[in-house]
């Protein structure tokens, strides 16, 4: 039973990824803008013959179906092709940029979770008080200011006025570990704020839900210390919903860091994708979106699998 459940979920995931790939492929071919023209440089017009020759070199003059089938068979072997502008494998690009987005996302999740869960617990425990109101308002505010606004404010304040951290860029951890973290901090915190806000709210409402349950009354009646009740029992039960939210936010982040990577010049997957879109670099666009969608689908499926494991009723 369990195996079938897991296999079915994975099977569904694979089909979804294939469909996403197909949609992306088609959308791209309908976008105006000829990659061949862009490869030849747009500062100066190229001869029509040069463009035609480039289209042949890039394989763009073949019938769509041939291109599609060729690409799909390559994908299955995890060959995403080469960039249209040079012969570098798409997988090289993605392998270079994906970890940087992941690092940013994970750092943000960690910071956001720490802040969010703490605040959520406080608000739940002190429900109805001024503290609760303040925390709830801060949480609402955290979700309300767009990341590009808070990001800009941070850069202005912390980098340019106070000179505490670099304004942008990326250095390899191996070259300069301290510099690496210095550059990671601002973008991670900027993303972490709205995360913390939504995690705090989820934590709060989830804890309130559990606090209202009968077994909590029972524990208290038995004379158990309040701290133990909260942390050992209530939190443990409430945390499941919170973890779900965290998982979903992580999934969203993989493709959602566009604005932050743009602001902080962080060389992640999102900026790779945006540049590729600007350059109509089809193989990179296709490869990146598939990777992003695959992450999204897999994380969602994992959450469902975990849910299914923990609560057999939902299978």
């Amino acid at each position: 039973m369990l195996l079938r459940f897991v296999t079915k979920n994975i099977g569904v995931a694979v089909v979804q990824i294939i469909i996403v790939a197909t949609i992306v492929f088609s959308l791209l071919r309908f976008m105006p803008g000829d990659p061949a023209v862009l490869v030849l440089g747009t500062e100066r017009g190229a001869d029509p013959e040069a463009v035609a020759a480039m289209r042949t070199t890039l394989g763009l003059d073949q019938p769509l179906l041939t291109q599609y089938l060729g690409w799909m068979t390559d994908i299955v072997r995890l060959d995403f092709g080469q960039s249209l502008f040079n012969n570098i494998d798409v997988t090289t690009y993605i392998a270079e940029r994906l970890p940087k987005t992941l690092e940013l996302a994970i750092a943000a999740i960690i910071i956001g979770a720490i802040i969010g869960i703490s605040l959520g617990i406080i608000a739940a425990v002190k429900r109805g008080s001024i503290v609760d109101m303040i925390v709830s308002t801060i949480a609402a505010a955290g979700m309300s200011f767009p990341v590009y606004v808070t990001g800009t404010a941070f850069i202005l304040l912390i980098s340019l006025q106070l000179n505490l951290l670099p304004a942008s860029g990326y250095t390899e951890f191996s070259e300069d570990p301290i510099g690496h973290f210095q550059r990671l901090l601002l973008p991670a915190i900027t993303i972490a704020l709205p995360l913390a806000a939504s995690i705090a709210r989820m934590t709060r409402s989830s804890m309130l839900e559990v606090l209202g349950k009968d077994f909590v009354q029972t524990l208290r009646a038995k004379g158990l210390a309040e701290k133990l009740v909260i942390y050992k029992h209530v939190l443990r039960n409430a945390i499941i919903s919170v973890i779900t939210v965290i998982g979903l936010e992580l999934a969203n982040l993989i493709g959602g860091t566009v604005l932050i990577e743009f602001l902080f010049n962080w060389p992640g997957l999102s900026t790779l994708l945006v540049e590729a879109i600007n350059n109509r670099n089809y193989p990179i666009i296709q490869g990146s979106i598939i990777v992003i969608a695959a992450f999204y689908i897999l994380i969602n499926r994992s959450v469902e699998i975990i849910y299914g494991l923990m609560d057999p009723r939902t299978r």
Partner: protein, 528 residues
């Protein structure tokens, strides 16, 4: 438990703050490294250069943008190149001679080496140009160079180009960054990777190119100019977002940046430890599709030239930097220059309305202006033009797709008029060919504009041997160009490089050559 969380969090923040404070006291790390020499010795040091984009390719025969050309000119050299004064200077060639009717040019090469130690020979030069002329090649200037009929090699150091027609500007075309010399053996062996593994005979050689991050080049010890380059190493970093680029300069993360946004020029100029190198370079103009009825009439185009207050554009899109062009985009010293051409038009709304009425549009008309949302200066110029033309009754709607789409529409002639920001490629008068030769839509012409007189004058200018007669031809050409105004020139765009106080020797070339300023990297040094 909550308290534990909070303490951890506060600790993290404090640690980060301490780390931040500790390291920032050391100042900008990359820029002020070991300046090897002292006592006025310029050599040594490494420079971090913030480019506005990552080059898409380093295959030299493709015009890959200012950012690409900057790197290209660090790594390669041509037979001739433009120097910091904007003059043709012999590089890999020592000298040249031409026959009387300018149909044959012979170059003598100097002793020079490629980065892999191979000598630069006439065979390499021949290979370079044959590669450009190959029918399958994507070389940007193939058309201009296609007047080369045959190439003769005489020993290792002499090469002759036989042309199919007389060409006065030929040497200028060899000075283009796209005509730099490549090694025949190296290119043939590396043909699949040539876009990412450039190797030339220039002052710096490629160390590494990390896609999405940086290009690192280091000093080429056997460069043919004694004592140059001064710098040991240059790291080109990519900052596509202009504000991020400027912030990096302010924060000391980089030593030199290109394309300083105009709004930041004043504040950078006023910052103590920073300085600016500014020059008027490319121009902004309007390009017309003469298939669209109102734009088929020269009176309408002239009306537009009279109607637009150039300062409206300069003060808004360019923060007051740059110079208006009320006439032809030509500079003193350029062929055919005459002051009357730079004041051919003036801001005169009444005159504009008169011309419109003459052309048959007393109540104006509707038109769509193509530009792009991807580059602020283009979009802002379009907004300003829209506002100005409203005053003479031309209702303009803006079309602002991304750059790739805008280029597509341009090349296919799918526009009514558009905003263009570009430059001539060479300083010789023949730069006008690219723009004024008649025909159907291509990138740099006014689609479907075709004037016999202009076509003929352009051809004559190319073939005329006598410099005085050439001047006359180009003067006539400009007169006609103003009468018909297939292009309405708006303003000179000021290009600024921003740098730390201690960066010297980098020169922003004037006029059309601003995009080729990378050639001065060989003379750039960092002062202690």
């Amino acid at each position: 438990m909550v308290k534990k969380f909070m303490t951890i969090f506060i600790l993290l923040f404090v640690v980060a703050g301490v780390l931040g404070a500790c390291s920032s006291n050391e100042g900008s790390s990359e820029g002020q490294q070991d300046n090897g020499g002292s006592e006025g010795d310029k050599s040594g040091g490494s420079l971090t250069f913030g480019l506005a984009a990552e080059p898409t390719t380093m295959d030299p025969y493709i015009q890959n943008g200012t950012h690409g050309r900057t790197v290209k000119l660090a790594i390669f050299r041509g037979l001739y190149n433009y120097n910091e004064k904007g003059e043709l200077e012999a590089e890999l060639a020592e000298s040249y001679t031409a026959n009387d009717d300018l149909t044959s040019y012979t170059f003598k090469l100097r002793d020079a080496k490629f980065h892999n130690g191979d000598p630069v020979t006439a065979e390499d030069v021949k290979y370079t140009f044959e590669r450009i002329l190959d029918p399958e090649s994507g070389a940007t200037f193939k058309t201009e160079l296609s007047i080369i009929d045959s190439i003769e090699v005489d020993g290792d150091k002499t090469i002759t180009f036989n042309l199919s027609e007389p060409s006065a500007p030929f040497v200028h075309y060899t000075a283009l960054p796209e005509s730099v010399i490549v090694s025949k053996s190296y290119t043939e062996a590396n043909i699949d990777d040539i876009a990412t593994k450039p190797m030339g005979a220039g002052p710096f050689k490629l160390v590494s190119w990390t896609q999405g991050s940086n290009i690192i080049v280091e000093k080429f010890e056997d460069y043919y100019k004694e004592g140059q380059p001064y710098l040991d190493e240059i790291e080109f970093q990519f900052y596509t977002e202009e504000n991020t680029r400027v912030n990096a300069l302010r924060a000391g993360d980089v030593d030199l940046v290109e394309t300083v946004p105009w709004k930041d020029t004043e504040s950078i100029g006023n910052t103590d430890n920073l300085k600016l190198e500014s020059a008027n370079g490319p121009f902004m103009a309007l390009q017309f599709n003469t298939d669209f009825e109102p734009f088929s009439k020269p009176e309408v185009r002239q009306a537009i030239a009279y109607a637009i207050d150039r300062n409206a554009i300069i003060n808004t899109a360019f923060s007051g930097r740059g110079e208006p062009i009320y006439g032809m985009a030509t500079l003193e010293g350029y062929m055919g220059y005459d002051e009357k051409f730079t004041t051919y038009f003036e801001h005169n709304i009444e005159k504009a309305k008169e011309l419109l009425a003459e052309a048959g549009y007393p109540d104006g008309f509707k038109a769509t202006l193509l530009s792009t949302s991807q580059y602020g200066m283009h979009e802002q110029t379009a907004v300003a033009v829209q506002s100005e033309l409203k005053k003479i009754g031309i209702e303009v709607e803006l079309e602002l797709p991304d750059w790739a789409t805008r280029i597509n529409k341009n090349v296919e002639g799918d526009y009514q008029f558009l905003v263009v920001g570009t430059s001539g490629d060479i300083t010789d008068g023949d730069w006008m060919s690219n723009f004024y030769t008649g025909g159907p839509a291509r990138l740099n012409n006014s689609a479907n504009f075709d004037d016999e007189q202009i076509n003929s004058l352009l051809e004559q200018g190319r073939k005329e041997v006598d410099p005085a007669k050439r001047e006359e031809i180009y003067t006539q050409l400009m007169e006609r160009a103003m009468e018909l105004s297939p292009f309405v020139y708006l303003s000179w765009r000021e290009q600024s490089y921003g740098m730390q106080e201690n960066v010297n020797g980098f020169v922003n070339l004037d006029g059309f050559l601003s995009f080729q300023s990378g050639v001065t990297l060989e003379e750039t040094y960092i002062e202690d």
